[in-house]
């Protein structure tokens, strides 16, 4: 295949050409209650060619690798048509050509583990949840693994073979009191690792079931504006949704007005606030040594000492904004071109202990665990799995249905304390943008305390 790719690149008439070919092996085991909903082993092979001519991109996506040269010709022809209409020439920030072969060593390569073993593991987790209590009426236990071998080459001499393993586990239990009170507890996990990561997670199955039962007795939150402590999960989702997406330079590289608002050096929070997007942290789902443009990973400070420090870039956004690419051009699979995405995004730990955060809150909310979130630039929303009242500095009753919203500029300024207990983790889901979902990422942070957070729910 190497020869076919190099030959196709050599014959390309475009200003810049890249070819990415992905081979994937994946399995899924999914239980719903006592039924095995899916047990699957599948494979996939496909590729994408991207050509740049002037200011226009032409892209070709395909499964059949039989005639790569024709695909390159197709992409070139389209790019030419686009460039006739694209007013501005697109430049790519220079990167050093790379020749590399990234092989991973896994303790238990999922490709060599029999399907039966995966199914038995999941059946065990599922039974733990089902048998936990008579009130558990339904469960979901889902395991996925994927092993990708990504071959990336471009017309500047880069040729990389990159192996990307991914394992996820979703354990979710639903408990029912009556038709008005049906509650779900779930644990969502994901790793850049082999099958071993999904083993020995019994405690998470029990935790999911236990949470569902506890939530039957929780009271719904009352809508209002509160001082909120976010646990590490939620702090991570918050920083990813609310701020991380705003730092993706493809939103702003062609938008001078947004660039004026988001000036590097603009204060965003207290000096203790540091936000990082990192291309490599051992075992984490956001990892890859190179992005899908062949740019090596790096650690980027989005906020340093409370001040906006950097954006996340592809080669094109970096060139346009006069800076260096950051290794954030990622594609969810071969059907898509790389766009600017996060990897492992987190708030660096500060100095506060959880007790110090609680101490002087008269009435507030401690929100824990994340059901995911969404953002539209300045406005964001995310949902907690469960929460507790904080009454006069003490944790009180369990609360449910806690959905938070805010404006990122105000909310970051309203972070008043940053904990000392950083946790970064992956989930079984992923990040979605421009139709590319689910991209493996991780998020994290220490506990953080934020004032004036709007929480939806029943109006009192």
């Amino acid at each position: 295949m190497r020869e076919a790719i190099l030959r196709a690149l050599e014959r390309s008439r475009a200003d810049y050409t890249e070819i990415r070919v992905e081979r994937e092996w994946r399995t899924e085991v999914a239980y719903r209650k006592e039924n095995l909903e899916n047990l699957e082993a599948s494979s996939e092979l496909g590729g994408i060619v991207r050509c740049l001519v002037g200011g226009g991109w032409g892209i070709a996506v395909f499964n059949s690798l039989e005639n790569l040269e024709r695909r390159v010709e197709d992409a070139f022809r389209i790019a030419k048509a686009v460039s006739a209409k694209a007013p501005e020439r697109a430049a790519l920030a220079p990167t050093r050509p790379v020749q590399d072969e990234v092989r991973v060593t896994l303790k238990k390569d999922p490709r060599s583990i029999p399907l039966k073993q995966k199914q038995e593991l999941l059946r065990r987790y599922n039974e733990l949840m089902l048998k936990h209590s008579g009130k558990i009426v339904s469960t979901t236990a889902r395991y996925t693994d994927s092993f990708k071998e990504v071959t990336y080459a471009n017309s500047e001499g880069t040729f990389i073979v990159d192996e990307r393993p991914d394992v996820t586990l979703l354990l979710s239990a639903t408990a029912r009191e009556d038709e008005k009170n049906i509650q779900t507890g779930s644990e969502s996990l994901g790793w850049f690792a082999g099958f071993e990561a999904a083993e020995n997670q019994e405690e998470h199955a029990l935790k999911a079931a236990q949470r569902a039962i506890e939530l039957l007795g929780a009271k719904p939150v009352t809508a209002g504006v509160y001082t909120v402590i976010l646990d590490q999960d939620l702090a991570g989702v918050f920083i990813h949704e609310a701020f991380g997406h705003l730092c993706e330079a493809d939103f702003l590289f062609k938008n001078p007005r947004l660039q004026e608002i988001l000036k590097i050096g603009r204060p965003f929070g207290i000096p203790e606030l540091n936000v990082v997007d990192d291309g490599y942290l051992e075992g984490l789902r956001g990892n890859s040594k190179y992005d899908d443009e062949g740019t090596p990973r790096q650690k980027v400070y989005l906020i340093k000492n409370g001040v906006l420090n950097s954006f996340l870039h592809s080669r094109q956004t970096a060139a346009k904004m006069g800076t260096q690419p950051t290794g954030n051009a990622r594609a969810v699979n071969y059907q898509f071109e790389p766009i600017v995405r996060m990897r492992n995004t987190y708030i660096e730990p500060g100095s506060a202990t959880f007790e110090q955060m609680l101490k002087d809150i008269d009435y507030g909310i401690y929100a824990c665990g994340s059901f995911g979130g969404q953002t539209m630039l300045e406005q964001f929303t995310f949902e907690a799995k469960y929460a507790y009242e904080i009454v006069r500095g003490q944790l009180g009753e369990l609360l449910r249905d806690v959905v938070l919203t805010g404006n990122v500029f105000e909310t970051l300024k309203n972070i008043e304390m940053i904990g000392n207990d950083l946790v970064i983790k992956g989930t079984s889901g992923g990040c979605g943008k421009d139709g590319q979902f689910p991209l493996p990422v991780t998020t994290g942070g220490p506990h953080i305390r934020v004032r004036h957070v709007t929480i939806g729910g029943k109006a009192s």
Binding site: R32, L36, N38, E40, A41, S43, E44, L45, G46, G55, G56, W57, G58, A60, V61, F62, S64, I78, A81, V82, K85, P87, L115, K116, V137, S138, T174, E179, I182, T184, A223, G224, V225, D250, K254, N255, R257, L258, I261, Q335, G373, Q374, T375, M376, L377, Q379, T381, F382, E383, R400, D401, V403, T405, N407, F409, T454, I455, G456, G457, A459
Partner: protein, 447 residues
């Protein structure tokens, strides 16, 4: 195509000997997405993909596998057999071919559209919005999709259909210090003449105009009018409750409520897979069952849940032609079939939107939300952030609200608090057709 059929038949013949039954699903897709960013053409993409899925039943157990290697079935068969070896007992058999409704899914005009026609339409949309406000960041996406779907099984079923789909989406961002506002419109249809890109742009401009002024809103329970994509905040909990799988598992609040009144009698909900050219229409579902038009809720009474083959067999119900290899946001050959709604139709009421608005001293109009599925859909609870919402007083829209959330229980609200349904339904992203729905007593929270 002919050789494809011969290939599939040969494979099925082979599998018929070693299994209790097998099903091959094949999807070939050609797409042409064209993208404008910041008002300028950025990229065109030519997609040509193909994949095959195999389901089989061996020793009474169900197996599943997919591949993109259409030239070699060795691993596909091996994987599916291994999966069946450890799989669950299959409660159903692959169906023989049955008569199906005639449903139009192919428009040659869409097939013929090329990148030049998309570029021209994209430019017109951009120009129109720029003429309103040249400082807006405008992104436009246009695409056609040609699908060739084939389904064969060992019960003699052999279906092949060609489908087209045309999609247009437009977003505009207005960035000001202290207010970054993004608004989004999208539509898709299987027939070209029903897609009006400029009307989409006009709709977007109308909302941008209304959004100029920002007004405060108080935290309280009040009338809320759900309109356009805003209706999805209500529809999603209903679809979760009407999903036959959730009913079977006992996690739907509608279990045991068929033929009971669950809503105001002015409210009905239809699932329709037979509408000509609707994006979610087809004569057959992805398991080969004929699609249907059926009332799920008729004049407030729960009538029918949605089923695929497997869930219907488990629940001892009739399949409803809702087994699709696609979720709410699309799918493809990679997924085993599961329950999915087709077009969700809410029949209109008899009052105009203006009349409804006039009769309310104060109302929040919710045009779009973030965090769909937020709250607890299993009990009918929704809790969403309003992304596009307007406050109206005595029939006049006074401005846009920010940093505002809505919450409530769709079953309670549609049973007790329905004010009115408007007389003019509209398509929402091509998969739901609904009027504006005015409800009283919705919880609104804001700063």
């Amino acid at each position: 195509m002919k050789s494809q059929k011969i290939r599939a038949e040969a494979l099925l013949e082979k599998l018929a000997k070693q299994t209790d039954g097998a099903e091959i699903y094949e999807l070939r897709t050609v797409e042409l997405p064209v993208r404008f960013r910041a008002g300028a053409l950025e990229s065109v993409k030519a997609v040509e993909t193909a994949g095959r899925a195999l389901r089989l039943i061996k020793d009474g157990r169900l197996g599943f596998s997919t591949t993109t290697d259409l030239g070699d079935d060795t691993y596909l068969v091996q994987n599916a057999l291994e999966s069946a070896h450890y799989g669950d007992p299959a409660p159903f058999r692959f169906p023989a071919q049955q008569p199906a409704p005639s449903v139009q899914c192919f428009d040659p005009q869409v097939e013929q559209m090329d990148e030049q026609s998309f570029i021209a339409l994209g430019e017109q949309i951009v120009e129109k919005i720029k003429a309103y406000d040249a400082t807006l960041q405008i992104n436009v996406g246009l695409s056609k999709e040609l699908e060739e779907v084939s389904l064969y099984n060992t019960s003699g079923l052999a279906l092949t259909s060609r489908r087209t789909l045309l999609s247009v989406s437009v977003s505009a961002t207005r960035a000001r210090e202290g207010d970054i506002f993004t608004i989004f419109e999208a539509t898709s249809w299987r027939q070209a003449k029903e897609i009006d890109g400029l009307a989409l742009a006009e709709r977007l401009i109308e909302r941008l105009r209304l959004a100029e002024r920002i007004v405060p809103i108080q935290t309280k329970a009040m009338p809320v009018i759900f309109r356009g994509p805003g209706v999805l905040a209500l529809l999603i909990p209903f679809m979760v409750g009407l999903d036959g799988r959730n009913v079977f598992l006992g996690v739907s609040p509608l279990r045991g409520k068929l033929d009971q009144k669950i809503c105001d009698e002015r409210f009905s909900l239809i699932d329709d897979g037979t509408l000509d050219f609707a994006p979610r229409s087809a004569p057959y579902d992805d398991e080969g069952m004929p699609t249907q038009r059926k009332f799920l809720i008729e004049r407030g009474v729960a009538k029918q849940f949605l089923y695929d083959l497997k869930t219907a067999a488990l629940a001892r119900a009739q399949p409803t032609g809702n087994g699709f290899k696609a979720g709410f946001m699309g799918g493809g050959f990679r997924y085993p079939p599961r329950i999915s709604s087709t077009s969700a139709i809410i029949p209109p009421g008899d009052r105009t939107f203006t009349q409804i608005l006039k009769d309310l001293d104060e109302a929040l109009i919710v045009e779009n939300v973030m965090g769909l599925g937020g709250g607890n859909p299993l009990t009918g609870e929704f809790s969403n952030t309003v992304s596009v919402g307007f406050l109206a007083r005595k029939g006049e829209i006074v401005g846009r609200v920010k940093n505002t959330m809505i919450a409530g229980n769709v079953y309670d609200l549609l049973r007790e608090r329905l004010i009115a349904l408007s007389d003019r339904p509209e398509w929402i992203f091509g998969f739901a057709h609904a009027p504006a729905i005015a409800l009283d007593g919705v919880s609104v929270a804001s700063k």
